[in-house]
C-alpha cells in the first residue's frame, strides 16, 4: 500500500510487490508466500520454479485473482487487481476442458461470456485452434482427444480471451516426457509468434530453462524469492536447445539453488511424518 515501487522508471506489465499469503490451519498460521516481489516485462517469458511446498501454486492463484493475499499488491499495467482480471489468462495444471463442449465451443467459451456474436466467435476460436495445431479437431469432444491435445485446447481457450499476461501452472505436469517436450515447443513457438507475456509456474528445470528469459527460484516454505536468473540463450528456441552446453550450465546452476531447497523440503516432510506417526501411536 504505502510501499513505493522498487524502481520509478519501471515498465513491468505485471508487478508483484511484497506479497504475503498466510493460511490459518489447525496447527497454527502458515506463511505460504513470504514477501515476494518481482516484475514481468512486456513480451517476457518468466518462470517461477521451486520445490513442492514453496507456495508457487498459491502465488499462481493470487496473481490469477482466485485467492486473496494477506499483504502486498499485485498490479497489471499500474492497476491494482483484486480478483480475476481480464488482462490475465490462466491455464491450469489439471484437466480443465469442458467435456460437454466440442473443441470449438471450448475455445470460444471466454468469447461467449463477453457476448461476442456466434459467427465471429467461431471464427476466432478456429484461429486459436489452428495456432495450437489442432486443425481438423474442431468438432471433436475432449474425450476423443489425448491428454496433450486437451491441454492444447485449454491453452487455446485461454489465448482466445487475448490476455495481456498468460499465466500457467505446470500445464504439462500430467503429460509424459515426449509430449511435454513437444508441447513445450508449441508453447514456445506461440509465445514467440504472439510476443505473449508469459508467467510459467513449474518445478521442471529443463522446461524452465528451455522457455524462459528469466527464472525466479523460490525457497522452500515459507516461499521467498531466492534468486532471479537471466537465461541468455538465443531465440527463437526449440527443444533442440536442450542439448547445448550453455543449456547444461544453466540447468546445473539452477539445480544447485533448487537442490538445497528441495532437500529442506524433503527433510521437513520426513519430520512431519515422523511426528504424525508418533502422535498417532501415543
Amino acid at each position: 500500500m504505502t510501499a513505493p515501487a522498487p524502481q520509478p522508471a519501471n515498465n513491468d506489465i505485471l508487478v508483484v510487490d511484497d506479497v504475503v499469503v498466510r493460511f490459518d490451519t489447525p496447527d497454527g498460521t502458515v506463511t505460504a508466500v513470504d514477501h515476494v516481489s518481482f516484475g514481468v516485462r512486456p513480451g517476457e517469458f518468466l518462470s517461477v520454479i521451486g520445490p513442492s511446498g514453496c507456495g508457487k501454486s498459491t502465488l499462481f492463484n493470487v496473481i490469477g485473482g482466485l485467492l486473496g493475499h494477506t499483504e502486498g499488491v499485485v498490479s497489471v499495467a499500474g492497476v491494482t487487481i483484486n480478483g480475476p482480471h481480464q488482462s490475465i489468462g490462466m491455464v491450469f495444471q489439471e484437466e480443465s476442458t469442458f467435456p460437454w463442449r466440442s473443441v470449438t465451443d471450448n475455445v470460444a467459451f471466454p468469447l461467449e461470456l463477453v457476448g461476442m456474436p456466434k459467427a465471429q466467435r467461431i471464427e476466432r476460436a478456429r484461429h486459436f485452434i489452428s495456432l495450437v495445431g489442432l486443425d481438423g479437431f474442431e468438432n471433436r469432444y475432449p474425450n476423443e482427444l489425448s491428454g496433450g491435445m486437451r491441454q492444447r485446447v485449454s491453452l487455446a481457450r485461454t489465448l482466445a480471451s487475448e490476455p495481456k499476461i498468460l499465466l500457467m501452472d505446470e500445464p504439462f505436469a500430467a503429460l509424459d516426457e515426449q509430449t511435454r517436450l513437444l508441447l513445450g515447443d508449441k508453447v514456445l513457438q506461440i509465445q514467440q509468434q504472439l510476443e505473449q507475456t508469459t508467467l510459467l509456474i513449474t518445478h521442471n528445470i529443463t522446461e524452465a530453462v528451455q522457455m524462459s528469459d528469466r527464472i525466479l527460484v523460490m525457497t522452500y516454505r515459507p516461499g521467498k524469492v531466492k534468486r532471479i536468473v537471466d537465461i541468455d540463450l538465443p531465440r527463437p528456441r526449440t527443444s533442440e536447445i536442450v542439448g547445448s552446453e550453455a543449456f547444461g550450465r544453466y540447468v546445473a546452476q539452477i539445480w544447485a539453488d533448487l537442490r538445497e531447497e528441495a532437500s529442506r523440503g524433503m527433510r521437513d516432510e520426513e519430520d512431519h511424518m515422523m511426528h504424525h506417526h508418533a502422535g498417532g501411536a501415543s
Binding site: 469442458f98 460437454w100 463442449r101 467459451f109 461467449e112 461470456l113 468438432n139 475432449p142 474425450n143 476423443e144
Partner: protein, 264 residues
C-alpha cells in the same frame, strides 16, 4: 461431426428369427393360451379372467371414445405439472444445498429421511388442501418427485470438478453464466437420473392417488371400471397404460443415452 465417434460393434448377420425371439414368442403364446383356456373353463367367477376377444373389443371401444383421451390428458397433465413443479423446486433446492456447506449440513438430513417415506400417506392432507380434483394429484406427484431430483442435484453439484469452476471464475463468468454454462451442464448426468427417478415416482403417486379418490384421470377410470366390474375395460386400460409407461421410460432413457455419446 460427433457422429464419427460413434462406434458400432460388428455383429454376425442375425438369422431371420433368432432363438431368443422364438422363445419370447413362445412364452407370450403360452401365457395367452392359458389365459384363454382359463376364461372358458368356468373355474373362475365370470370376467375375472375375461376372454381375449372381450378385452380386444373393450380396447377398440376405449380407443374410439374421446372420453378416454380426455382422462389420459388429465393424468398426463397432472404428471407433467408435478414433474415441472417438483423437479424445478428440487433442482433449485438441490443446487443450493450442493453449493452451500452450511445449508447442506443443516437441512440435507431431512431430505434423506423424508425421501423414502411413501408420499401417499400425505394424500388425505392434500385432499383437504387441494380438493378431490387434479390439484391434490399434482400436489402428491410434486411431493414425490421433489426428493429424488433434489438429492441427485445436491450430489451432482458436489461432484463437479472444482477446476471447471475455477476456469469459469478466471474468465470472470457471472453467477448466471456459472449456473447455466458450468454447473448445470457439468451435472447433467445426475440431473437426468434424478428426473428419471422423479418421473417414475410422480407417475406412481398420481395414479395411486387417482385410484384412491378422484373424479378424473386414468386411475379414476380404472377404479370405476373395477367398481362396476367391467373387467375387459379395466384390462384394456391396463394394457394401454403399460404400453404408455414403456414408451415414456424409453424416451427418458433415450435422453440419457444421447448424452452419453458426448462424454461420460
Amino acid at each position: 461431426m460427433a457422429d464419427t465417434s460413434r462406434v458400432t460393434p460388428l455383429r454376425a448377420p442375425a438369422p431371420a428369427i433368432s432363438p431368443v425371439t422364438l422363445l419370447r414368442v413362445a412364452i407370450i403364446l403360452t401365457v395367452l393360451s392359458v389365459w384363454e383356456l382359463l376364461s372358458y373353463s368356468g373355474w373362475l367367477y365370470r370376467d375375472v379372467v375375461p376372454s381375449l376377444l372381450a378385452i380386444g373389443r373393450a380396447l377398440v371401444d376405449l380407443l374410439t371414445h374421446g372420453d378416454y383421451y380426455f382422462n389420459l390428458a388429465v393424468t398426463a397433465g397432472e404428471v407433467g405439472a408435478a414433474l415441472l413443479i417438483g423437479g424445478g423446486l428440487g433442482l433449485i433446492v438441490g443446487i443450493t444445498l450442493g453449493a452451500n456447506r452450511f445449508l447442506s449440513k443443516a437441512f440435507e438430513s431431512y431430505l434423506y429421511y423424508l425421501g423414502p417415506t411413501p408420499k401417499i400417506i400425505f394424500f388425505p392432507i392434500m385432499i383437504m388442501w387441494f380438493g378431490v380434483g387434479p390439484g391434490s394429484k399434482i400436489a402428491l406427484g410434486t411431493l414425490s418427485c421433489f426428493f429424488p431430483v433434489a438429492l441427485s442435484a445436491a450430489a451432482g453439484m458436489r461432484q463437479i470438478d472444482k477446476v471447471l469452476i475455477r476456469v469459469g471464475q478466471s474468465f470472470r463468468a457471472s453467477t448466471v453464466q456459472m449456473v447455466f454454462k458450468i454447473y448445470l451442464p457439468a451435472m447433467r448426468h445426475p440431473i437426468i437420473n434424478g428426473v428419471r427417478l422423479g418421473l417414475g415416482v410422480a407417475l406412481i403417486a398420481t395414479l395411486l392417488a387417482e385410484t384412491k379418490l378422484s373424479n378424473k384421470g386414468i386411475g379414476f377410470l380404472i377404479i370405476q371400471a373395477y367398481s362396476i366390474f367391467d373387467m375387459p375395460r379395466m384390462y384394456a386400460m391396463l394394457i394401454v397404460l403399460f404400453i404408455l409407461s414403456i414408451g415414456a421410460n424409453s424416451i427418458v432413457g433415450r435422453l440419457g443415452g444421447l448424452d452419453s455419446i458426448r462424454r461420460n
